[in-house]
Amino acid sequence: MASTDDRDTPPQNIEPGFLGWLNRRTGLDTLLATALYEPIPGGARLAYIFGSGLLFIFISQIITGVFLALYYVPSADHAHTTVAYITKSVTAGSFLRSLHFYGASAMVVVLLLHLSQTYIYGAYKGRRELLWLSGCVLFGLVLAMAFTGYLLPWDQRAYFATAVGTNAVSEVPLVGESLKRLIRGGTDMGTLTISRFFVAHVFLIPACIFILVASHIFLFRNAGAAGPFTEDPYHPKQKPELFYPRQVLMDLSLTALLIIGLGLLSFFVPTTLGPAANPADPQYIPRPEWYYLPIFQWLKYWHGAASVVGILVIPTILVLAVIALPFLDRSIERRPWKRPIAMGAYAFVMFTLVGLGLRSEYLDKHDPSVAQQLAKQDQEEKDYMRKPFEPELSSASLAAANVALADPLAAKGKTIFEAQSCNACHGDGGIGTAAAPALIGVGAKFSPDQLANLLHHPTAKMTAGGMPAVDLPDPDLKALIAYLNSLK
């Protein structure tokens, strides 16, 4: 039987020439054959396409993420400007950012489908405990990616959503407050929070995901594909079909669908960026991204002493139950209609999550003041998107501008500094040039009297460098010294 069927025996590769040589040296063909000729009991099915869909989105997120980092700066004073630059100025910037943004949502959607398929098909059963466990950790890591990435644009939406998200952590008994400060890098949200979230989002979590994806695939191949829910989870009996070509084609059709869907969405409905975070805004109503709405709504119900139950006890029990599932459910029965408790629990959790999410939306729509404020926030975001990109004023020019405003005497001194051509050698704002040293901080080194003396009678070394004696009326000299003192 096996010898006549082309689907369960890998073809032998005895290629001559360059490809043959490359394969003999690298074993690429063996690797490819191992990847492609995995037997699937019961044959290829559309139900099995979600795992590779997730892998595709993950790769897409890495590529778009790496490219976004070309222009992004993770600090509270530049993050928003650089994201605005990407969105409004850089060619294809809005498209790539949108791909990354919508990719995150697509990841959560496909992850839920993958999880649901595994659960409904009982594909965690038999020798698949670690496979399920690694999947659970990956689920958590994907949610952590979504959470940490959300803050990085540092606009109003990002800032306040994360402020609420990290605040929820402080509800954890005993260590809550310390935990919150650890995540934020301080009591309040600030530039250290961005640094932490950036490092987690770009280095730590992706590294963990790489390791776990590799483990997940290894454990999957080690246990073997589970096949349909009529299959025995330990000893598959149904006629196998190789992964290639039909399952590959099915998987690729999901990939194609994702490319087209994400591409069209990013092109025609690019994601927006709101005004820069303003922590002092007392009006702003924070709302998380859709996949966090159920948790957001759930937390609203728990206050005071009972909050420990809602925020810690119930979620912990739920998470532990999910993690422990393959250890608790040892029956080899996989048909959903024979597993009423498992299916009932699944339906209950899903309905609760969807219900909580919808409830949150409903409450927002039916509270006039909230609805009005949310509409206003949306409008502010649209208005901000319409404005052309405004480059950030560098700190050097800001300092110069501040002098003019702060101290009229120093401002007069600045005019003298320029009129006397001091800036020709000492540079604009006394930053120094090749011809003469910087004057920044000179006020800390010399007293005003010493400065006046040096200006009237430059030292021999100064004269040799081309410094002329400054002969000014007394009020002008005072103003010039006031300006020199302001250079910090």
Partner: protein, 179 residues
């Protein structure tokens, strides 16, 4: 599909490798298509200038229609560097031009770069550093400078005099832009 097993091995093998080639080609094409936005994103600084000096506003051109002597104006020049900009102030002189439009001179001495003040009493520009002197229209009169004061490109837009500030190489006889 099961019935295909009855076919002879070679033809099935051939069909499979044809499919493989098709998939490889398809993936390559889709990959190439997806790389286009990535390349455009990366090449942005080469396609569009990301460091530039914008034209600076000197003032309404009517202010300079009947000049008897050069006047100093402070201009704010905006230097854009990617997503940031720096604003610095420079002094320029507006003086009578050959035609209707005024002429704008850089106040930087072409000798060694000091700022040259206008000395109305002597009707000359006199550099305080090494004594180079220039006529009211910026031509070299005497002193160590090898050329006259540098004229800046200017134009009138909607009644406003706009100047493009540039630096020129010092200590040479011919004007040469350095940035």
């Amino acid at each position: 599909m099961i019935t295909t097993a009855d076919n002879s091995e070679p033809s099935s093998e051939k069909r499979r490798s044809f499919l493989g080639a098709l998939l490889a080609l398809g993936s390559f094409c889709v990959g190439a298509l997806l790389a286009v936005p990535l390349i455009r994103f990366t090449l942005f600084p080469l396609i569009r200038r990301t460091t530039q000096l914008k034209g600076a506003l000197v003032g309404p051109v009517s202010d300079f229609s009947s000049l008897s002597e050069p006047v100093a104006r402070t201009i704010q020049i905006e230097q854009v560097d990617g997503w940031r900009k720096a604003i610095s102030e420079k002094t320029v002189y507006v003086t009578k031009g050959d035609g209707a439009a005024p002429r704008v001179l850089s106040s930087i001495c072409p000798h060694l770069g000091c700022t040259v003040p206008w000395v109305g009493a002597k009707n000359e520009f006199i550099c305080p550093c090494h004594g180079a002197t220039f006529s009211p229209d910026g031509k070299r009169v005497s002193g160590p400078s090898l050329r006259g004061m540098d004229e800046l490109e200017s134009q009138v837009q909607d009644g406003q005099l706009i100047v493009r500030f540039q630096y020129f190489r010092q200590l040479v006889a011919d004007k040469e832009v350095i940035g």
